[in-house]
């Protein structure tokens, strides 16, 4: 089962490698991981996507809690939550017909074309993971030059929040 885990941690050097090291040392899987400081500069917020049985994810949450730098952990799977990922995708539009078709697909997916040359379009797209996958799929008939994905970020809906 896929789980989205939110982690609030001290913004200390080495904190990220403690989390990454925990996953490799204990053989847990990381599908994606994103981290950045929060409105409180002493705290970082990490969203980590992993897969595992209920028992394994329970262990993952406990082991994360055990890291001294980790302040709070929430398995978003337990709550109603929102998940978003951002992507940049660079597509070759050297054929005449391509410009129009790529522009049309980008509009359908509510992407933004953020950089243009006569040979390349760079599109920005935000959505959940499956939407991003679908867009990459839709562009397969063109030449995709580069894909940059941020990894998922998550937040619980409603009153539930992860804060100190």
């Amino acid at each position: 089962m896929r789980h989205v885990i939110s982690i609030l941690m001290e913004n200390e050097s080495g904190a990220l490698s403690r989390v990454a090291g925990l996953f490799s040392a204990r053989g847990y899987n990381i599908e994606s991981l994103t981290v950045a400081p929060t409105e409180d500069a002493t705290l970082s917020r990490m969203t980590l996507v992993t897969r595992g049985s209920e028992e394994i994810v329970e262990q993952i949450v406990k082991q994360l809690h055990k890291l001294i730098d980790v302040v709070k952990v929430m398995d978003l799977y337990q709550n109603s939550h929102i998940e978003r990922e951002m992507m940049f995708i660079k597509v070759a539009v050297d054929k005449n017909t391509a410009c129009e078709a790529v522009k049309r697909l980008s509009d359908i997916f509510r992407g933004n074309i953020i950089d243009v040359t006569d040979k390349m379009y760079t599109i920005e797209l935000t959505g959940d993971r499956t939407k991003l996958d679908a867009f990459v799929n839709a562009l397969k008939e063109f030449r995709i030059v580069e894909v940059v994905r941020s990894g998922s970020m998550g937040i619980a809906r409603g009153e539930t929040s992860l804060r100190v």
Partner: protein, 566 residues
């Protein structure tokens, strides 16, 4: 007044009440050593012969006293040599603060002389670690290190100090208290869970207490004894838990696990309730997890939530300090009208006594044949009244010491359980002897293990540490050989030590007393003679039966009820 980093370092040790540290100097820590020299009446520094020895000695000190052990080593190779000890302390939850020197800040990342990223190297085997980047943070970092190492589930904390920090100056202020928003161990168990646990204990027909190193670490031996006797249940202990409950009491059914007793393992297998206290369901304890305690409900008390339901699904988890929780259990039990089911317990004890009759630890010492290692341990136990500190190395001798030295007190059995570090015994014994100069401290070892930290004989001479070494010499790496006999058709690959030194001469070369004992009839006399030499280290080299096996045994993949007896 402003102090240098080196001065602050020593002030912090004094503030923490550290009287003894173990270490080895080098370039990156020279300012610290200079300060230790100036204040040698305040902090006693023990110079080891190898950094691994420093950390094991600090572990021995910590395991015997339940106070954090402290080691100080230099950067680079000093730090990497300490890693085995740090990993050992991590596996056995030993409170330890290890200080490593580091190259000056401006050289970090430059592949400087004796530079190594020790914070990165030790990250997976420490409870936490720090690189000090500002002298103003040195004191608070050291405070945090001691706090983290000694609270919650204890463990090693490493503090890496760049050389230029030790000369930089700032005002010294040692924080009295420290709070960390990201670290708040739970000490009190949940009341509702405590009630549920008592409910199960009162319903149980075939209960067994299974206790581990957490009881010793929590200082809860008396409380455990009280609870066990109040309940009247049988109790078994893990390798790490020995001594928490008096071994000579009839409710004690021996150690459990791979080399546990027949009665303990069978009691676990047939139990309808297992009460795990400060134990972690290690694979050497459980055997085949699929066959583990098939009929039992399980209560698990542990301070580390991550230990609960890690290997075995638990019915009643109680997160908290073992001592606090046992006190709450006793209180709850005394509030109840009901008592444990006496008729059922009588039947259960009858069954256990049947298993006991197998007399699984019996062995035959032919007084005209070679010495059996078991006999040496049993004699040592008799002569020392079960009161010595036994520091063991790793292998067959470790199992025999655990089986035949019947511990009546906690903190007396000092061994490397989780990591299984050969070479642990002698330096650990030094640490214990430093903590308790008047007590009998023995190192039970083998001809393989002793050679892994043999250089510490030099340290023992320098500080006149009268450790008694019992080397159970069988000319083999005995445990490896035993497995090769059982599972590799006696192909003794590399388990034979063809070039053993003359240990008697070696001990003498280091300025100690050496003895070689070859006949069973000489064992008792030799031990008494060695113990009479109160101020000397005595190396007793017992030439023992070569192909001697540790029994009983739960072979890999088997369940607790599938033991090999002989």
């Amino acid at each position: 007044m402003e102090l240098t980093g080196a001065e602050i370092f020593v002030e912090c040790l004094k503030e923490e009440g550290v009287d003894t540290i173990f270490g080895y100097p080098g370039g990156a820590v020279l300012f610290i050593y200079d300060e230790l020299y100036k204040q040698q009446d305040k902090v006693n520094h023990i110079l080891v012969r190898h950094e691994q020895g420093a950390v094991h000695a600090a572990e021995g000190y910590a395991k015997a006293t339940n106070k954090p052990g402290v080691a100080l080593v230099t950067s680079g190779p000093g730090a990497t040599n300490a890693v085995t000890g740090i990993a050992d302390a991590y596996m056995d939850s030993v409170p330890l603060v290890v200080f490593t020197g580091q190259v000056p800040r401006n050289l970090i990342g430059n592949d400087a002389f004796q530079e190594v990223d020790i914070v990165g190297i030790t990250r997976p085997c420490v409870k936490h670690n720090f690189l000090v980047t500002d002298v103003k943070e040195l004191a608070s970092t050291i405070k945090k290190a001691f706090y983290i190492a000694s609270t919650g589930r204890p463990g090693p904390v490493l503090v890496d100090i760049p050389k230029d920090i030790t000369t930089a100056r700032c005002e010294f202020h040692y924080p009295k208290e420290i709070t960390m928003r990201s670290y708040n161990p739970t000490y009190k168990g949940n009341k509702r869970q405590v009630r549920r646990a008592i409910d199960l204990m009162l319903e149980a027909k075939k209960p067994v207490l299974y206790t581990g190193g957490g009881v010793v670490l929590s200082g809860a031996a008396n409380e455990l004894t009280e609870l066990t006797q109040e309940l009247g249940f049988p109790i078994t202990e893990t390798l790490m838990g020995l001594g928490a409950y008096p071994s000579m009491d009839k409710q004690f059914i021996g150690m459990l696990g791979m080399h546990g007793t027949y009665e303990a393992n069978n009691a676990m297998h047939h139990a309808d309730l297992v009460i795990a206290i400060g134990a972690r369901f290690d694979d050497r304890v459980t055997g085949n997890i699929e066959k583990f305690c098939p009929y039992a409900k399980i209560i698990h008390i542990d301070i580390d939530p991550a230990s609960i339901s890690k290997n075995v699904k638990v019915d009643v988890p109680i997160v908290g300090d073992v001592k606090h929780v046992i006190i709450d259990l006793l209180e709850e039990l005394r509030h109840r009208q009901e008592r444990p089911d006496a008729a059922a317990l009588a039947g259960w004890w009858k069954q256990i006594e049947e298993w006991r009759k197998a007399n699984c630890l019996k062995y035959n010492q032919d007084m005209d044949g070679p010495i059996r290692a078991q006999y040496v341990i049993e004699k040592f136990w008799e002569i020392t009244n079960g009161d010595a500190y036994i520091c063991s190395d790793v292998g067959q001798h470790q199992m025999w010491a655990a089986q035949y030295y019947r511990f009546n007190k906690p903190n007396r059995w000092i061994n490397s359980g989780g990591l299984g570090t050969m070479g642990f015994g002698l330096p650990a014994a030094m640490g214990v002897q430093m903590a308790f100069p008047e007590e009998t401290v023995a190192c039970v070892t083998g001809d393989g293990s002793i050679q892994m930290c043999i250089q510490e004989l030099g340290t023992c001479l320098q500080y006149r540490l009268p450790v008694k070494i019992l080397c159970l010499n069988n000319g083999f790496l005995g445990m490896v050989r035993q497995w090769q006999e059982f599972f590799y058709q006696k192909r003794y690959a590399m388990s034979y030590m063809e070039a053993l030194p003359d240990f008697v001469k070696l001990a003498e070369a280091y300025g100690h007393v050496g003895m070689r004992i070859e006949k069973p009839g000489d064992v008792e006399g030799a031990i008494k003679e060695a113990l009479a030499m109160k101020d000397r280290l005595v190396f007793m080299d017992f030439i023992t039966l070569q192909e001697n096996n540790v029994y009983p045994m739960v072979p890999a993949g088997a369940g607790h009820n599938e033991m090999i007896l002989v």
